[in-house]
């Protein structure tokens, strides 16, 4: 995906008539436009980029050093590193990071393993693939509000569908999975796995379609059983997809907000409070923009660090693919 940016523009076959071109500035054959023209094309997007992406990022860094509040206009008094010191010393800041990690640990293995299994099996079918694509992928396009309302109702203590299934299987339903601080995050994780598995499923299906059929045929000729083919052909060739899936999943987990806000609102207590919940609570409930900005900066740095790792991993993998 990222390899395209490094691909040089291929010189066109029509470069011979370069002098005849009105807008060409001469020089390189692929030189097509003039400076001002290019900036006119870039400007509309660029304005939005600066106003709503780069601008807020800079503002967030600046505000994190001030006692900014929703109550007064402007930045407020200079606070130095106070907001950061406060965040590092707050127990709920560390617990929100821990809950985010907990959520990641609960969701990544099922989201990777089940998606892989579903994709490998679906890919083998001669017909009926559409049905399984629909079943596994459809939840992914539903709004978080829809999936949260569905799962909160399923998790209704004692009389909900989940409790009925639990009693059917011989478990005691108890007080409800979302009501218990020990299990609330598990409930959110179950809903999330159901909701987002379609994304990984589609990525794996796309990866599987890139594996040449001849490799399986060669393996079959060499006597590899179906299982051996999966073990020695499919899994190694999907390693790149798996890395991508895991890193994307970690980034998505760090940004989790919707399901938690809608299903438990961080509760019971603060047992499911995640980083974005803490940030929005500090900003919009406590009116402490400066402190919320400091927390945002810290989360921002973690996410960008993982995104950079992802970029590097992708580039290394792409280069290795090219060499192979």
């Amino acid at each position: 995906m990222t390899s395209a940016t490094t691909t040089p523009n291929a010189p066109s076959a029509a470069s011979a008539d370069a002098p005849a071109r009105r807008s060409g500035r001469g020089g390189r054959p692929s030189d097509r436009g003039t400076g001002p023209g290019a900036w006119l094309f870039l400007a509309p997007f660029g304005i939005f980029y600066l106003a709503f992406l780069l601008g807020p990022t800079i503002w967030m860094f600046v505000a994190s050093f001030f006692n900014t509040s929703l109550v007064h206009r402007g930045l407020g008094s200079f606070a130095g590193l106070d907001n950061y010191v406060e965040m590092f010393s707050r127990a709920d800041f560390w617990s929100s990071l821990w809950h985010t990690l907990q959520f990641t640990i609960y969701t990544v293995p099922p989201l990777v393993i089940l998606a892989f299994v579903f994709a490998v099996l679906t890919n083998r079918l001669q017909r009926g693939q559409w049905f399984f694509r629909l079943a596994f992928f459809l939840p992914f396009i539903l709004p978080s509000a829809t999936i949260s309302l569905i799962w909160v109702f399923i998790f209704t203590p004692a009389t909900g569908l989940f409790a009925s299934v639990q009693s059917l299987l011989g478990f005691t339903p108890g007080s409800g999975i979302l009501a218990d601080p020990k299990s609330a995050m598990v409930g959110i994780a179950i809903a999330t796995v159901w909701w987002t598995i379609g994304f990984n499923f589609i990525l794996y299906l796309a990866g599987l379609q890139d594996i040449p059929r001849e490799l399986y045929e060669a393996a079959a000729v060499d006597g590899a059983s179906t299982w051996q083919q999966i073990r020695h052909v499919t899994i190694p060739l999907l390693r790149r997809t798996t890395t991508l899936v895991i890193l994307l999943q970690i980034i998505a987990s760090l940004k989790i907000f919707d399901q938690v806000y809608l299903m438990t609102n961080g509760g019971p207590g603060i047992s499911t409070q995640v980083s974005l919940g803490l940030i929005t609570g500090t900003a919009f409930t406590d009116n402490r923009i400066g402190a919320a900005s400091a927390a945002s900066v810290l989360l921002f740095i973690i996410i960008v660090a993982i995104a950079v790792i992802r970029e590097i991993v992708e580039r290394v993998a792409a280069r290795r693919d090219q060499e192979a």
Binding site: T7, A13, Y49, P143, Y261, S296
Partner: protein, 310 residues
């Protein structure tokens, strides 16, 4: 299993050596029947596993649908009652449509979704056109900004975005939902990749006729880019429709709320009206489900091609 794997190599080798017509003619059936046994077992297991999980995956949506078609009184009694009452009622849907809020929410979601999509597609493709077809001073810097922009997690910017919208007096307007979602940098990237693959010869005729850059972008490149326009447009629309975080904080006027925010806000006041709540959940998703059924291929390929996630 083990026996089949042991015999297959022999059959394979015999087949490939092709010593005599008889052997090579006999070998393929032997091999395929050997693979067939293991293959057939595997196919049966495949079907069983997939059907079981597909049913598990369909149950939550179907249960929500069934609940939404029940009376509130029945839904309040729990799952067993809901499943044992067969006759559906549209009572909850008529209640929701009668109350009226949902029409405002649909309107807000449609307006913000469509406007964001149009602005994103036009502006991102223009920027991508410049990056794909023109050379200018500062191009490398712009490419770096694009790469940086892809990594910026916009959700984490909710606090400064809220502050800036407040300073610009845009809170509680549709623009507060639209503007921050326009700079989806990944769209520029997707368009650029596609444009890079369009052969330049196709522009030459237009260029010889004296067409300017705008003409080439609008009359040559864009018409050739329908598949990628469709993919970006649909994914943008779905993303805006499903966004909760941004509209939740920048819209507090119930008349302007998008459908997920409206539902999240009123669910508390619904109390024990569980059938109505599930009907609301279904109605929030319904336009997207219809969109998916129509544009299934574009959505799936778009997701697979971009690795785009929330």
């Amino acid at each position: 299993m083990t026996t089949t794997t042991a015999t297959t190599p022999g059959a394979g080798r015999a087949g490939r050596s092709g010593v005599g017509g008889a052997i090579s003619a006999a070998a393929p059936p032997a091999r395929s029947s050997g693979a067939g046994i293991s293959g057939r077992t595997f196919t049966i297991v495949t079907w069983i596993v997939l059907v079981v999980f597909a049913v598990i995956w369909l149950i939550p949506s179907l249960f929500a649908l069934k609940t939404s078609l029940s009376e509130n009184g029945v839904a309040a009694l729990g799952a067993n009652e809901i499943l044992s009452h067969w006759y559906p009622t549209l009572h909850s849907y008529s209640t929701l449509f009668g109350a009226g809020d949902i029409w405002n929410w649909y309107l807000a979601s449609a307006i913000t979704g469509i406007l964001t999509t149009v602005l994103t597609v036009v502006f991102a493709s223009m920027a991508a056109f410049a990056l794909s077809r023109m050379h200018f001073r500062g191009r490398t810097t712009v490419m770096l900004m694009i790469l940086l922009g892809i990594m910026i997690p916009s959700q984490v910017l909710i606090v400064p975005i809220f502050e800036m919208l407040g300073a610009a007096n845009l809170l509680n307007t549709y623009w507060a939902v639209i503007f921050p979602q326009v700079p989806a940098v990944i769209s520029v990237f997707i368009f650029k990749q596609f444009f890079d693959g369009i052969p330049r010869e196709l522009e030459e005729a237009a260029r010889i006729d004296g067409a300017g850059l705008w003409k080439i972008y609008w009359s040559v490149i864009m018409p050739l880019s329908r598949p990628v326009i469709a993919a970006v447009a649909i994914l943008t629309f779905v993303g805006v429709w499903n966004n909760l975080l941004l509209p939740l904080f920048v819209l507090t006027n119930p008349n302007l709320m998008t459908i997920p925010v409206g539902l999240a806000t009123v669910q508390g006041s619904f109390g024990q009206r569980f059938a109505d709540i599930q009907a609301g959940a279904i109605l929030a998703a319904l336009p997207l489900v219809l969109l998916y059924l129509v544009f299934q291929r574009q959505i799936v390929e778009g997701v697979a091609g971009t690795g785009l996630k929330g």
